[in-house]
């Protein structure tokens, strides 16, 4: 699959996985790789924010809601305050609607229960493709 506007290079989409659960990290990493993403993994919100601050670029962030040091909502708020426009998709094991709404309110583009499925990632890819 080829996405991106560059004529000469086949540029892959880059995704950041922010999650402290090693099982989820692995599942999302393999799933995203299979669907054409390059991936990087961080274990808490602070690492995610630091990466962006250091100038790293991503097309997509999968942000876990609960992480030590800095959680998903806090990291999302900070990224948006920094002016980061990257698509941030919240990932949560909580089913409570109120908590999902609160997380969305921090600045997410979307929010899903983990682990994400191939269908959901494919629909995110389509959205990313449209925005290019």
């Amino acid at each position: 699959m080829v996405f991106g506007t560059s004529a000469s290079t086949q540029r892959k989409f880059r995704a950041l996985i922010a999650d402290d659960d090693p099982v989820i990290q692995k599942i999302h990493k393999v799933l995203l790789n299979k669907l054409g993403f390059e991936t990087q993994v961080v274990v808490n919100g602070k690492e995610a924010v630091d990466l962006f601050r250091s100038g790293a670029f991503f097309n997509l962030v999968l942000m876990d809601m609960e992480m030590p040091i800095m959680d998903g909502p806090q990291a999302t708020r900070e990224l948006r305050a920094m002016g980061v426009k990257t698509m941030i998709v919240g990932v949560t094991s909580r089913a409570l609607e109120s908590e999902k709404q609160a997380f969305m309110g921090a600045g997410l583009d979307d929010c899903h229960v983990k682990p994400l499925s191939a269908e959901i990632i494919t629909s995110l890819l389509k959205k990313l493709g449209k925005n290019k």
């Binding site: 692995k26 599942i27 094991s93 682990p115």
Partner: protein
Amino acid sequence: MTSCLWSLENGRAKGKFVADQGIHLKDPLLDYRPMANKGYDANKPTTTMCHQVSQKDVIMRLLFVDGSLYLKGNPAIFHGYLDDQFTQLQKLQDESNPDFVVEVVSLFFEDSEKLLNNLTRALEQQNVDFRQVDAHVHQFKGSSSSIGAMRVKNVCVAFRNNCEAQNHEGSLRCLQQVKYEYSLLKNKLETLFRLEQQILAAGGSIPIME
């Protein structure tokens, strides 16, 4: 001899089988995973053959199609231990990630053992910190549902209710229960992987049934 009705859809074999000795397999759709390029004997007969092997209570079904071997998707589902999420993980396994399922499950085992130790220690304290206990159970619930371990997950749900109610006895009971369910699951998965390894090592020929 076995007979079967089967078809290949998207590289996966699906069908109904009547196994040896006239045992009728009731599963309507048997989704077999291809175990391609694992050194099979290309001289194997091109007729289709279906066999069933078992170790303890884990049953594996094998399908030979044109010299290729297909293994039954997930026998454990039929015993209610693993739900469809596990099947989704199996679908992610392919030639570029040939050991994906074993790797994810191993991560799950490592993580679980740490969590169970933490839970045991936390509940042994004089003054139990239920928020800490709840955090561990939440983590365990998340990772068990991400591999499809539904029985473990269900105990975690009850466990969290006990944490919320700060019920020490109830929490201890749940801990016992979750340890029990976890050890059953671990046993089944280890048997499954061992059986797969034996089948592959035998080059796809049928191992002797115990």
